[in-house]
C-alpha cells in the first residue's frame, strides 16, 4: 500500500472549520462526529443496560425476593436485553463503521452524510421511549426482549412505546446500512479493490446487507403485534384464527441474523488487531471473506433452533439442527485463520491484542456451547435455562464487547491523538476477564442443573452459583468504571500518539493519516497500487 502522501494537504486553513457548540453535533454531517456520537450514545446505553443487569443480579444474589417485585424484575430483564442489543452494541458498531470505513477505503466521508446525521438522531427518541416506558402505568414491558405474544399483548401502554421504539431503531439501522453499502461499493479509492479492503470493511458490508434484509421483518412482526393489540386483528391470537408460534418464526427469522449482525463487525475488528500485533498479514484473507459471507447466508436458515421446544415435527428439528451445526464450519475457519496469523509471527501484547486474544478464547467457548445447544435433544433439556444465558453472554460480552474494547484501545490513538495508559488498559482487560468469567461461567452449571432463565427467585439448590455470579457481576461493573476513568484521563492528559502508533498496522488510517485524524480526510483520494 504505497501511495500519495498525506497530512500536509490538511494544513490548509479552511479544512478544519466546523461549527461550534451544540449545533456542531446537531447538524453535523461529518462521519467522525457522527461516529463519536454513536459511540458515546452506545456507552450511555450500556451504562443504563448495565445498571438494569446489576438490579437483576442483586435480586438473584440469594433466594427470596429482596429488592425487586417480580414484575419489576421482568421489566429489568426485558429492557436490559433490548437496550444492550439495540441501544448499546449495535450503535457502537455503527460508530466504528462511521469512523473507520471512510478512512479505511480512502473516502472523504460516507455516501449520504445528511442521512447519516438523521440515522443517528433517530436513536435518542427511541431510547427515551424505552426509558420512559418504565414510568407509565403498568411499567415497562415484561415479555423478554423477544416480545412473544400473547404475553406481550398483555402489556400496558409500554407495549406501544416499545413497538414505536423498535420501529425507529430499525429505520435508523436500515438507513445506516444503506449508507454503508453505498459508501463501500462506490467511494473506494482508486486501486482499493474489493479484495484489498480491510476485513473490518468486509464484515460491515456483509452485516449491512443482513440488516437491510431482516430489519423490515422485525418491523413487520411488531406491526402485527400493534394491530393485534389495537385494531382487532388476530395474527397471533388463536381464538381469532392466528398462531402465537408464527410470531416466533418471524421474530427469529430476524433474530438469528441479528446475532450475526452483532458478531460479524466484531470479527472484523479482531481481524484488524491480530495481524497488526503479529506483524504479519491476515492468514487466508480470501477464505475469511468467504467464511463471513457463508455465515451470513447460513444465518437465514437456522432460526428454528430457538424453537425446538415449540413442538415442530422431527423433520423440522433435524433440518434446523443440521443447518445450525454447519455454521460451526465457517466459524471454525475463522478461528483457525486467526491462530494461523499468529503462527510464525512476531507477537507483542499491547492492550488491543490482549482483548483480541480474550475474544478468541472466550468467544470460542461461546461457540462451543452454541454447538452443544444446536444438538436438538440437548437443547430441549437446556432451552430457556441459564445455560442459554451463559452461552449468549459468552458470544455477546466476551465476543462482541471484547472486540469493542479491543477496537477502542486500538483506534483510540487515531481518534484522539492521545495514548492511553498501557498498564491501565491491561489491568482493565484482566479485571474484565476475571469478572466476566466469575459472572457467567457458573451460569452454565445453573443451566445444566435446570434453573430456568427470567426468574426473580429460585430454589435453594441454585443458591451458591447464583451468589458467585452476582459477586462477579458487580466486580465486572466496577471494572468498567475504571475503563471510563482510564479513557477520560488519557483524553485529558495522555501522551501524544504517533501517526502510526502500531508497528504492524497496515490499513490506510494508519499509513496515510496523522493522529489524531483531521476533521476532513481524503478529500483527495489516495491512489493505491
Amino acid at each position: 500500500m504505497t501511495a500519495t502522501t498525506h497530512t500536509a494537504d490538511h494544513a490548509d486553513e479552511h479544512h478544519d472549520h466546523k461549527p461550534y457548540g451544540l449545533s456542531r453535533w446537531l447538524f453535523t454531517t461529518n462521519h467522525k462526529d457522527i461516529g463519536t456520537m454513536y459511540l458515546l450514545f452506545g456507552l450511555l446505553m450500556a451504562i443504563v443496560g448495565g445498571f438494569l443487569s446489576l438490579g437483576i443480579r442483586a435480586e438473584l444474589f440469594m433466594p427470596g425476593l429482596q429488592i425487586l417485585q417480580p414484575e419489576t424484575f421482568n421489566s429489568f430483564m426485558t429492557l436490559h436485553g433490548l437496550i444492550m442489543v439495540f441501544g448499546a452494541v449495535m450503535p457502537v458498531f455503527v460508530g466504528f463503521a462511521n469512523w473507520l470505513i471512510p478512512m479505511q477505503i480512502g473516502a472523504a466521508d460516507m455516501a449520504f452524510p445528511r442521512m447519516n446525521n438523521w440515522s443517528f438522531w433517530m436513536l435518542p427518541p427511541a431510547a427515551i421511549l424505552l426509558a420512559a416506558s418504565f414510568f407509565v402505568e403498568g411499567g415497562a414491558i415484561q415479555s423478554g426482549w423477544t416480545l412473544y405474544p400473547p404475553l406481550f399483548t398483555q402489556s400496558g401502554i409500554a407495549g406501544d412505546m416499545t413497538i414505536l421504539a423498535v420501529h425507529i431503531l430499525g429505520a435508523s439501522s436500515i438507513m445506516g446500512s444503506i449508507n454503508i453499502v453505498t459508501t463501500v461499493l462506490n467511494l473506494r479509492a482508486p486501486g482499493m479493490t474489493l479484495m484489498k479492503m480491510p476485513l473490518f470493511v468486509w464484515t460491515w458490508l456483509i452485516t449491512a446487507y443482513l440488516l437491510i434484509a431482516v430489519m423490515p421483518v422485525l418491523a413487520g412482526a411488531v406491526t402485527m403485534l400493534l394491530t393485534d393489540r389495537h385494531f382487532g386483528t388476530s395474527f397471533f391470537n388463536a381464538a381469532g384464527g392466528g398462531d402465537p408460534t408464527m410470531f416466533m418464526h418471524i421474530f427469529w427469522f430476524f433474530g438469528h441474523p441479528e446475532v450475526y449482525i452483532i458478531i460479524l463487525p466484531a470479527f472484523g475488528i479482531v481481524s484488524q488487531i491480530i495481524p497488526a500485533f503479529s506483524r504479519k498479514p491476515l492468514f487466508g484473507y480470501a477464505s475469511m471473506v468467504y467464511a463471513t459471507a457463508s455465515i451470513a447466508i447460513l444465518s437465514f436458515i437456522v432460526w428454528g433452533h430457538h424453537m425446538f421446544t415449540v413442538g415442530m415435527p422431527a423433520a423440522g428439528q433435524l433440518f434446523f439442527m443440521y443447518a445450525t451445526m454447519l455454521i460451526a464450519v465457517p466459524t471454525g475457519v475463522k478461528v483457525f485463520n486467526w491462530i494461523a496469523t499468529m503462527w510464525r509471527g512476531s507477537l507483542t501484547f499491547e492492550t488491543p491484542m490482549l482483548w483480541a486474544l480474550g475474544f478468541l478464547f472466550m468467544f470460542t467457548m461461546g461457540g462451543f456451547t452454541g454447538l452443544v445447544l444446536a444438538i436438538t435433544p440437548v437443547d430441549i433439556t437446556l432451552h430457556n435455562s441459564y445455560y442459554v444465558v451463559a452461552h449468549f453472554h459468552y458470544t455477546m460480552v466476551a465476543g462482541a464487547s471484547f472486540a469493542i474494547f479491543g477496537g477502542v484501545y486500538y483506534w483510540w490513538p487515531k481518534w484522539t491523538g492521545k495514548m492511553y495508559n498501557e498498564s491501565a488498559g491491561k489491568l482493565h482487560f484482566w479485571w474484565t476477564t476475571i469478572g466476566f468469567n466469575l459472572t457467567f461461567f457458573p451460569q452454565h452449571f445453573l443451566g445444566l442443573a435446570g434453573m430456568p432463565r427470567r426468574i426473580p427467585d429460585y430454589a435453594l439448590q441454585f443458591a451458591e452459583w447464583n451468589m458467585i455470579s452476582s459477586i462477579g457481576a458487580f466486580f465486572l461493573a466496577a471494572g468498567q468504571i475504571f475503563f471510563m476513568i482510564t479513557l477520560y484521563m488519557s483524553y485529558k492528559s495522555g501522551q501524544p500518539a504517533k501517526d502510526k502508533q502500531w508497528e504492524g498496522a497496515d490499513s490506510l488510517e494508519w499509513t496515510h493519516l496523522p493522529s489524531p485524524a483531521p476533521y476532513h480526510t481524503f478529500e483527495v483520494q489516495p491512489v493505491l497500487k
Binding site: L326, L347, S385, L460
Partner: protein
C-alpha cells in the same frame, strides 16, 4: 453421577460410556477450581442431574459426548494459540514470516475435518430426536394446561382433573424490603399442592396447551421441555423407570409469577398408582360435562345477543348457569363456595359479587394479577353479562337485578 442408574444405556454408544467415567473427575476438577468443596450442604453441581427416563439418559450421554469432543478440539486449538503466544514473541526475537499467510491446502483441511466431526456428532443426535418425537402407543395420556400461574392436569382415561400450583407459602418468599417471615424449606419453590402422579414403566403421553400465554412444561430429569401454546395442543412423552419424585419449573416467561410455577411429577409403582387413582376419584373426578371446567377452550353454552333484545333475569341467569359451570366452577365450585386449595375465593356472599355491578365486571375483564383468577375478556358481552347475573342471583346471593351486555360493553370502554 456415579450413582446414576443404568437406564437407557442399552441404546447408548460406546464413547458415551467412557465419558461417563470421566465425568466425576471433571466434577472434582471444577470443585477444586472453585475451591468451595468444604462448604456444608452447598450445591456446586456442574452437570445435568441424574436422568430418570431413557430419553433423559440419552440426552445426558449426548451432552457429555458432545462436550468431550468440544473440549478436545478446544484444547488442541488453543494449545496452538498458546504455543504461538509463547513461541513467537517479538521480545524473544521472533521474526514474522510474512509469506506464511495463505495455503489453500490448509484451508481445505480445516474445513473438511470439522465437517466430518459434525457428522459424527449428528448421528447419535438424530437417533435421539426421532425417539423423542415418537409419541405413539402411549399407556396413559395426560392433558396439561398452563395457566398464569399454575398447571391443570387432566387424566382422560382415569377421569381425573385437578390443578397443581405452588405450595410454598409466601411467608417464605418475602417482599422487597420485607424479609421472609419463615425460613425457606428444603423444597422452596419446587413444591406443589397436587403433583402429577404417573405409573412407573408406562409410556405417558402429554398433550400440552395453555389457557392464556405461553408456558413451558419443563422437567429436566424426565427429558421433557415443551411449550404450552394457547389454542394449540402439542405432545411429548416420557416413561419413568424408577419410583420417585421429579421436579421442574415453567420454562417460558409467562408474566409476573413465572418463577413461581413449579412442576412435580410423582412416579408410583402400578399398584400404588391404581390406589392413588381410586383415592383421587373422590377429590378430582370429572363429574359431569359441566365441571370439565376451565377446559381450553372453555365449553361455552350458546347465547347470542341480538341488537335491541330485551333480556329478562331468568334468561340471563339460565344461560349464566351453564357458562358458570364451564368457566368458573373448576375453581369457585358449583356451589360458589370457592376452593381454598387454589385460593379461589367464595363467590357466595362475596362483596365483589353482590356489591356494585362494576366491581365484579372489572375482575371478570381483567382478572386479578398474581392469582389464578385470569381475565375472561375473551367471553362476549352477553356471556359475561349472563355469568355475572348468575353469580349475583345464585346460592345465597339475591340481588334481583341484571347485568346487561351494555354494562359489559361500557366497562370494556
Amino acid at each position: 453421577m456415579i450413582s446414576k442408574s443404568n437406564i437407557g444405556s442399552a441404546n447408548t454408544f460406546g464413547l458415551a460410556r467412557l465419558v461417563r467415567l470421566v465425568n466425576p473427575v471433571m466434577r472434582l476438577g471444577f470443585l477444586a477450581i472453585a475451591g468451595f468443596a468444604t462448604l456444608a450442604h452447598a450445591s456446586y453441581d456442574v452437570n445435568i442431574p441424574p436422568p430418570a427416563t431413557g430419553i433423559a439418559s440419552e440426552i445426558y450421554d449426548l451432552h457429555l459426548y458432545i462436550l468431550i469432543i468440544c473440549v478436545i478440539i478446544f484444547v488442541l486449538v488453543f494449545g496452538a494459540m498458546f504455543y504461538s503466544v509463547f513461541k513467537f514473541r517479538k521480545s524473544q526475537g521472533a521474526k514474522a514470516d510474512v509469506n506464511f499467510h495463505e495455503s489453500t491446502l490448509i484451508e481445505i483441511i480445516w474445513t473438511v475435518i470439522p465437517f466430518i466431526i459434525l457428522i459424527v456428532m449428528a448421528i447419535p443426535a438424530t437417533k435421539t430426536v426421532l425417539a423423542m418425537k415418537d409419541t405413539s402407543n402411549p399407556d396413559l395420556t395426560i392433558k396439561v394446561v398452563g395457566y398464569q400461574w399454575g398447571w391443570q392436569y387432566e387424566y382422560q382415561q382415569d377421569g381425573l382433573s385437578f390443578y397443581s400450583s405452588l405450595a410454598t407459602p409466601w411467608s417464605q418468599v418475602g417482599q422487597p424490603g420485607v424479609p421472609a417471615s419463615e425460613p425457606k424449606g428444603q423444597n422452596y419453590l419446587l413444591e406443589v399442592d397436587n403433583p402429577m402422579v404417573v405409573p412407573v414403566g408406562k409410556k405417558v403421553r402429554l398433550l400440552i396447551t395453555s389457557n392464556d400465554v405461553l408456558h413451558g412444561w419443563y422437567v429436566p430429569t424426565l427429558g421433557v421441555n415443551q411449550y404450552g401454546i394457547p389454542g394449540f395442543i402439542k405432545d411429548s412423552w416420557f416413561k419413568v423407570e424408577k419410583a420417585g419424585t421429579y421436579k421442574g419449573q415453567c420454562s417460558q416467561i409467562c408474566g409476573k409469577l413465572h418463577g413461581y410455577m413449579p412442576i412435580t411429577v410423582v412416579a408410583k409403582d402400578p399398584a400404588d398408582y391404581a390406589a392413588w387413582v381410586k383415592e383421587a376419584k373422590g377429590k378430582f373426578a370429572i363429574k359431569s360435562d359441566a365441571s370439565v371446567a376451565a377446559d381450553t377452550p372453555p365449553k361455552v353454552a350458546a347465547i347470542v345477543d341480538e341488537p335491541g333484545k330485551k333480556w329478562t333475569l331468568g334468561e340471563l341467569k339460565q344461560a349464566g348457569e351453564s357458562l358458570y359451570a364451564a368457566n368458573c366452577a373448576a375453581c369457585h365450585q358449583a356451589d360458589g363456595k370457592g376452593n381454598p386449595a387454589m385460593k379461589a375465593k367464595a363467590l357466595d356472599g362475596s362483596p365483589v359479587v353482590i356489591g356494585a355491578k362494576s366491581s365484579q365486571i372489572a375482575i371478570l375483564l381483567k382478572g386479578r394479577p398474581g392469582t389464578l383468577m385470569a381475565g375472561f375478556d375473551r367471553l362476549s358481552d352477553v356471556e359475561l353479562a349472563a355469568v355475572s347475573t348468575y353469580a349475583r342471583n345464585s346460592w345465597g346471593n339475591k340481588t334481583g337485578d341484571m347485568v346487561l351486555p351494555a354494562d359489559i360493553k361500557a366497562a370494556r370502554k
